[in-house]
Symmetry: C2
Subunit: 249 residues, 2 copies
C-alpha cells in the first residue's frame, strides 16, 4: 500500500510539472552481432512492452526533453537524435490502459486524456548503453528489430516509421558511425549499412563512397583475430563530419 | 466596440474547443510564372505577416486538423499535404504578441501560454486556390519564396525548413505534379523541378527519369502558342502514381 501511494504521488508530481497534451516516444537503435536492435520497456507488473518515452516539462524545449528522456534510459550523455514524425490520431493513446496494466486504481488516474506524441530516433553505440527502467516499468532491454513484440498503443507503427525514415536518411546522410564503436573496419561499416537497409551492397562502390566523404581517418592499427589478412581500422573524424554536413545539408 | 466583443467571443469559443498546447502551421507552396510561391496571412490591423495555421479540435486527429485548416485557407478539397517537423522551443510562440498586434485588450487574452507547432507543407495548383483570411487576419496572398518578409514567431525558420525538406523529397519522390495544372509539357515539369531545387537539370536525363516512373500519360494534344514546334502535353495518372508510391516507399 505504501508503495502504491508512493508511485501515485510520483506520477501526480510528474504530470503537474509537464505539458498534458504532448509526449515523446523514442526508437533507440543499437547494432550488435550484426543485428539491428531496439530498446524496449516492460510496463510494471505486466507483460506489456512499449517504446521508451516521456513527458515534456512545462517550460522545457521539446528537443531538450527528448535528450533528457534518452539520457535517463541509456545513461549516455551524447546521443545522435533525430525527430522524425508527430503521431496525432485522436484515439492513439489511452492513459487508463497503462493505469490498468500497472494495477493502479482508475479513480487515481493522472494520465492525460489525450496525448500527441513526437517521435525521435536515436543511434547509440550498443556497448555503452546501460538500459534503465523508469517509474512505470519493470524491465528495459534490447530486442532484435525483426522480433519486436506487440507494443502498447501505436508504438509498433512508430517503430516501423522510424526504421523507414532511418533507411531513407542513410541514403542521403552517412550517419551510421553513431552505431559503431570508436574504431571499426570498412567491412563492419558495410555490414551495418546492409543490415539497416536490408539488402547487400557492392563492396568496391561502398568503400569508394564512404572514403570520398573525407571524414574517415585510417589508423595505423589493424583489426586482429580474423582468419584473413588483418584489415585497417578506421575512426570517424567528428570535426570533418560537421563540416561535411554543413556543406551537404 | 461591438466588433471587438464579437472577435473576442469567437476567439474564446475557438480555444474552448481546441487543444491548448499544440498548433499547426502550414507552408503552402504554389508555382506560377516560373516562381515558387508561398501563401501568407497579414494579422488584423497590423503589417505583421505569418504562415497560415490553426488549432486542433479536442477530439480531432492532428492530420484531419491540418486538412481542415488548409481547406479553410485555400478553398481546395484535395491537397497534397506532408507533415515535416514539430517546432517545440519553449519561447517560440507568444499569444500576447498577436493580441497586441491586433489591438485587443491583454486582459482578455485567450491565447495559450505556450504552443508547440506541427509543421505541414502543402503543394497546390496555384490557379485553383482562392486565398481566404481568417478570424485573426486582414489579408491572405501569395509571396515569392525569395521575397518572404519577416514573419511572426519562428515562421521564417518553419518556411525555410519546409523548403529544405521539400527539396529532399523531390530527390526521392516525384511529387511535383501536385504543383502543376492538369495538363503540362515536360519542359514545364523540368522548369518546376529546377525552380524548387534551385539549379538547372540536364534535359535528356530529366525526361528519361520522369518517363521511367510509368505514371505520365502522353496526350494526343500538343501545347500551342509557342514559337517552336508544339511539344506534347502530358497528364499525370493518379492510380499509377499510387501504385508507384506503394512499390517505392
Amino acid at each position: 500500500m505504501d508503495e502504491l501511494i508512493a508511485v501515485l504521488t510520483e506520477i501526480k508530481a510528474l504530470f503537474n510539472r509537464s505539458l498534458s497534451e504532448l509526449s515523446i516516444d523514442c526508437v533507440v537503435f543499437g547494432f550488435h552481432d550484426n543485428q539491428l536492435k531496439v530498446l524496449l520497456l516492460r510496463v510494471k507488473g505486466s507483460d506489456a512492452w512499449s517504446l521508451p518515452g516521456g513527458w515534456i516539462y512545462k517550460t522545457e524545449d521539446v528537443e531538450h526533453a527528448a535528450y533528457r528522456i534518452l539520457q535517463e534510459r541509456t545513461g549516455l550523455d551524447s546521443i545522435f537524435l533525430q525527430q522524425f514524425h508527430a503521431f496525432g490520431a485522436n484515439q492513439r493513446y489511452n492513459g487508463k490502459e497503462v493505469m490498468a496494466k500497472m494495477g493502479l486504481p482508475p479513480e487515481h488516474n493522472f494520465f492525460p486524456e489525450r496525448a500527441v506524441s513526437i517521435g525521435y530516433y536515436a543511434l547509440v553505440e550498443y556497448s555503452l548503453v546501460e538500459p534503465k527502467t523508469d517509474l512505470f516499468t519493470d524491465e528495459c532491454r534490447w530486442w532484435d528489430v525483426a522480433e519486436i513484440p506487440d507494443l502498447l498503443f501505436d508504438h509498433n507503427d512508430i517503430a516501423s516509421i522510424a526504421l523507414k525514415t532511418l533507411r531513407r536518411q542513410f541514403d542521403y546522410q552517412p550517419i551510421g558511425f553513431n552505431l559503431l564503436p570508436e574504431k571499426f573496419t570498412l567491412i563492419e561499416l558495410q555490414k551495418l549499412h546492409e543490415t539497416v537497409l536490408g539488402h547487400p551492397l557492392d563492396r568496391g562502390n561502398f568503400q569508394k563512397k564512404m572514403l570520398s566523404y573525407g571524414f574517415l581517418e585510417r589508423l595505423e592499427e589493424r583489426k586482429t583475430g580474423g582468419a584473413h589478412k588483418a584489415p585497417y581500422l578506421y575512426r570517424f573524424d567528428a570535426k570533418k563530419y560537421e563540416i561535411y554536413l554543413r556543406d551537404n545539408e
